[in-house]
Symmetry: C2
Subunit: 504 residues, 2 copies
């Protein structure tokens, strides 16, 4: 079923992906082992790789091969080829729709704007940032117009599509709205609880090297393959599934509060096991060996971090292991104390420090505001006021400064718009998959207590990872759970767990 | 003084060098942190980078720019431009002289031949390796003929030029011959000494992490800049001056015999300080920011390893530092014991385990034999006999097997011919520079005892490193020391030191 054009297209795609994998390694090195004085030249290496990759992605021959393949009857019966062609066409069209000057301007203004944001945040000076944020949203609107969006959709969809192919603002709104209401209710419910959990038990002084050894043991137990991956230390944790057989995680250690590094590592390992589960050995460079979307990616990291890592069953398994590594630091701690400690839920100011439940409220505020800014329904100058109003409405808290308010995240400063909702989409998909998994593996709880995560990993491997980008996120969700994405499974999970923890 | 063609040429050269720097990082990662399962795909990344680099180096425009520059009167008065043009012309001509099929054949046969060598060495079966070695020397002759050599020279020069531009077999012979005779005499002299030093004091069990901390402290003291470099662990130590501000060393630790890792690290740091001293910040990608030759490179590593590291003065400084790191492992050791221990000199079978003095005899045997093989004066089938004869003649020892004889080194198996003499050239240059340095810095001994290596490093920086490839090795030697390269300084250094150590 292979035609000459299809072979050429796949060979070229693999070459482009190989360049991408080199770029990923160079980026990883920049965060891990690059000596400080090497930073200036590193930018030159990255820019050369970006140029080579862009040239490869926009090569005219890709368009010719695609046209030949799309009208090739021999490829029609092959669903994998059809999935590849659908996604490669989409990539090529998007890559060729942006004028070179716009790409250059976004890079230049984005970098200046990010500097302005740093300065403005440090000095709590929104006025300094305001003109830059205006420029960035104007550029993002231009970008969105180049991409275009489906009939009945809106400008936001064009940017969202970069991270969540096939999703629309309207669909997201339809799931987020009930989620927001019920979450706000839950927050109020636990605020009034008498028997609130404490996380004091997590504040132990544990040296980084012991935390690292414990983290590695946990990751090995849940199924991350260290023959095909690593765990290193960086300022900001990330996962890079950079190449076949090579998936690298990073985390960070604070001597206090060891659960931060643990959950950071489990989160990244969730991303990493998705990358390791993709059929890259066979199809590297083809969409059918690539992940579906950021939302589905995040569903994997959140599942291991929250649904597994913050379960009581996990601590039945992990407490003895922690004792092995931490020696005297956890002498009289019980499973229940740990379980309660890692499941405190209370409104807070900063998204990245928020708990499993309230985190989604932070995300929804950003989704609503960036959507309004992009449409023009909200002016940049009115952003701080709107931000603070929503933090009061949804989370019940007062924002003391723009630095800890609408300037807390770096994303918008360099044009990352349409990205935020994927965090909560990840939680929602994780919730819906988790519900189904527990039906398919009825004894999962008792398996987890024994440190047996193999059936869970196999389920994820065969149901999600093995397909690569063959299905869109919504399609996969429908196929696996029999329903479109809904807020109910996540809300049910949170309420069931937190009602227990808070005794309400 | 800059013309358009020269600007274009330099921009292209920088781009090519940037590709090379990416290749160097990817190679470094392969030896340090690559997970085992990533090895297969790594080959694909390396091959893409090799292809991109080759395409850039042989780009037709380079030839056009070079011709334009060579006839450009405006560039004539600029000695840096002239040095660049001389070297870039040489690189371009060499790169375009090899037919693509020959390059591919050398790569393919070289890889098969290396496999055959592994097998033959493991089974002490020279007959198995013989046909492959014949093929490799035939290919190397072809390669040499493509390159060509200067009038009055010989086929060997063409290959030697890859590693030691401007050098000839005849010149090397003229220096090696007296060296060989006097070294053989020295060896005999110490074999008869009554008060032989012992290296038993070096056989301490010291854990790798302590050795690593000590090694880093020594490297910091001698002047390796860790803001612009790193020290990691690999199976085989190396130095990669991969980019401006980024020079990476590796070493290996055995729990026993801590001096191995120490001298390995000092050796690589010598290479590393050369790389850090090159004017890459200003001229990266241009020959005037590149090292002169492997011989000069090796002179830097050998100087820090042997002339500094094996001096009594060094141990006056380093013993207290070693005690700080190794605690109780060196309680009653004295400076003199250590100094004598690291300066034992006795004939041995294996090159990489040889001492500072006899090492050169191993190298000279290889130079003589590979030169004879290339010329056709020696048949591959007669190699083992000739090898063993020379080990008896020069070193006075019997070779028990070809595995530990003519098959001990990997070099020839994949076509590294003309490379060996650079090891001894390095020792010779180091000796001649060292003599001059001690005239220019008369109190160097007392400085070293205090751990003050700054004046030495500055001398190397300004006299050697700063020039990049502006001068050829022989020219630099004449300029700095007033004499052409000679065996006397190295021999005088060895005899002065070893006479003391052996009490003869």
């Amino acid at each position: 079923m292979t035609t000459a054009a299809y072979s050429s297209l796949l060979a070229h795609t693999r070459r482009t992906a190989t360049l991408g994998s080199i770029d990923a390694l160079v980026s990883w090195d920049q965060e891990t082992y690059l000596p400080p004085s090497g930073a200036a030249f590193r930018a030159e290496q990255m820019s050369l790789l970006a140029e080579l990759t862009h040239t490869a992605r926009t090569d005219n021959r890709v368009g010719e091969w695609l046209s030949a393949c799309e009208s090739d009857a021999a490829l029609k019966p092959d669903p994998l080829a059809q999935a590849n062609l659908r996604e490669l066409r989409r990539d090529f069209d998007r890559a060729t729709k942006l004028p070179t000057e716009l790409v250059a301007e976004m890079a230049k203004v984005g970098s200046q704007s990010q500097e302005a944001w740093k300065h403005a945040r440090a000095n709590n000076d929104f006025k300094h940032f305001e003109p830059w944020l205006e420029k960035m949203f104007a550029l993002m609107r231009k970008k969105a117009e180049c991409y275009g969006w489906a009939a009945g959709g809106e400008v936001y969809d064009a940017l969202l599509g970069e991270y969540e192919p096939g999703a629309s603002a309207k669909e997201i709104e339809a799931v987020f709205t009930p989620l927001r209401g019920r979450l706000a209710n839950l927050v109020a419910r636990y605020a009034g609880a008498k028997n609130k959990p404490s996380d004091a038990v997590l504040s132990k002084l544990i040296p980084a090297d012991k935390q690292h050894a414990f983290g590695q043991a946990v990751l090995k137990a849940i199924g991350f393959d260290f023959q095909a991956g690593r765990l290193d230390t960086t300022a900001h944790p990330f996962c890079s599934g950079m190449a076949p057989g090579d998936t690298r995680l990073t985390t960070r250690y604070r001597d206090e509060h060891f659960s931060d590094a643990l959950y950071g590592s489990m989160h990244e390992a969730g991303h990493g096991m998705y990358e390791q589960g993709l059929p890259k050995d066979k199809y590297f460079g083809q969409p059918i060996a690539d992940s579906i979307s950021l939302g589905i990616h995040e569903s994997q990291s959140r599942m291991w971090e929250n649904f597994v890592g913050r379960s009581r069953e996990f601590w039945v398994f992990a407490l003895p292991l922690a004792r092995q590594h931490f020696g005297d630091a956890l002498p009289q701690t019980t499973v229940d104390e740990l379980y309660r400690a890692v499941n405190t839920a209370k409104p807070s100011l900063i998204r990245v420090e928020a708990d499993e439940a309230t985190y989604n409220l932070h995300v929804m505020i950003r989704f609503e505001l960036e959507r309004a800014l992009l449409r023009g329904d909200l002016k940049v100058k009115d952003l701080p006021g709107e931000w603070n109003k929503r933090y009061k409405d949804y989370l019940g808290i007062d924002v003391p400064s723009d630095a800890k308010g609408c300037m807390q995240d770096v994303h918008w400063s360099f044009g990352l718009v349409g990205y935020f909702p994927t965090y909560t989409l990840g939680n929602l998909y994780a919730g819906q998959f988790w519900e189904k998994i527990n039906k398919d593996i009825p004894d999962l709880s008792s398996r987890m207590e024994k440190g047996d995560f193999a059936a869970l990993k196999t389920w994820l491997n065969t149901s999600i990872h093995a397909h690569g980008k063959r299905y869109r996120a919504g399609e996969l969700c429908q196929m696996l759970t029999g329903k479109p994405l809904s807020a109910d499974p996540l809300l049910n999970h949170l309420q069931r767990k937190l009602d227990g923890v808070y005794g309400v």
